[in-house]
Symmetry: C2
Subunit: 164 residues, 2 copies
DNA sequence: AAAAATAGTTGCATTTGTCCACTATTTGCC
DNA sequence: GGCAAATAGTGGACAAATGCAACTATTTTT
């Protein structure tokens, strides 16, 4: 039984039990907040809601011909979820799909003109949103956290240090 | 138009465009991974899936009589979502609810014996999971990230520095 | 030539989140 | 005292996202 505190009626009297020192708690919670904020800023933008659309669009834009399965790994979705996401974006005329000539199982993805335009529009928004949202953390510390999480992420998805 | 790279077929050839330097991307992505891992470890545990159950259980356990609306703030859910969460946990016989004597609009939440037991069981798991999951980040850095995120979180939900 | 692996699709069941309206209670103001 | 506004919680409807498992097509292994 942990230290007892009783009937808190405002958030200021609450301590978070073991979650106080649990990194996963903060990640999970901050995620909710950032995502909500981002969605708000992208309202109506065709890529609002849910992780993945933005990443997919940007990735296809900067890697023409990239495959669904590669994106899936990057955003940690399973293939079926990825497929649906792409389907959706094709319907919105953001992406185009074609079977790879060399690997007829696989597909190559390309942005449409509309997709390219949207990518260009979104890129600065996404960057700014992240900066703004975390603005109450000093720039330095932001960079620190990002640095650490970037390394963590890379290990997790199996990206090697060298990108080429 | 960003630097072009073409038809990557494996994740190692991919760069993340502007997301590479976007903290929100890492938060959102790591969130997916941590959450999945956590769910896996808690499989069948009555509190698996979705943010909130764990926090709610632990919070009620260590703050007997706490109100739904306070928890809602902490986990950033709206009241209706919170209500449903609690309903669910009551059905599972983890929590008990009673109207506050002094504030008949409000409710006080308490754990049932079963809930207390589960809380005790979960506490170490949650802590360990977080440590394990982030184990490829040095302890020191883990602490650093947590420290920064904790402050961010506190500001965000409006917790003052002093916990009374 | 058969078996196994890979890429993608489809259907289904479950969850979740959000929006909005509704009740009950309390507080504040005149 | 009495009315209006704020607060706590409930309930319904609806749109999405998620995960699982089964299924097709293509390539690779053996």
């Amino acid at each position: 039984m942990p230290k007892m505190m009783s009937k808190p009626t405002t958030i200021e009297h609450v301590d978070l039990d073991v979650l106080e020192d649990t990194l996963s708690f903060y990640i999970r919670t901050m995620n909710i907040a950032v995502s909500r904020d981002l969605d708000a800023r992208l309202d109506g933008c065709d890529v609002a809601r849910g992780t993945g659309k933005i990443t997919t669009l940007l990735l296809v834009d900067s890697h023409p011909g990239i495959r669904p399965s590669v994106i899936a790994q990057i955003i940690m979705k399973d293939r079926s979820a990825m497929g649906r996401l792409i389907e959706q974006m094709i319907e919105h005329d953001l992406l185009r799909r074609q079977t790879s000539a060399s690997e007829r199982r696989a597909q190559e993805l390309y942005v449409t003109p509309k997709g390219a335009e949207l990518a260009a529009m979104i890129r600065p928004i996404v960057t700014k949103q992240s900066k703004d949202f975390f603005s109450f953390i000093a720039e330095e510390e932001q960079a620190q956290v990002m640095d650490i999480l970037r390394r963590a992420y890379r290990k997790m998805v199996g990206m090697t240090g060298e990108k080429r």
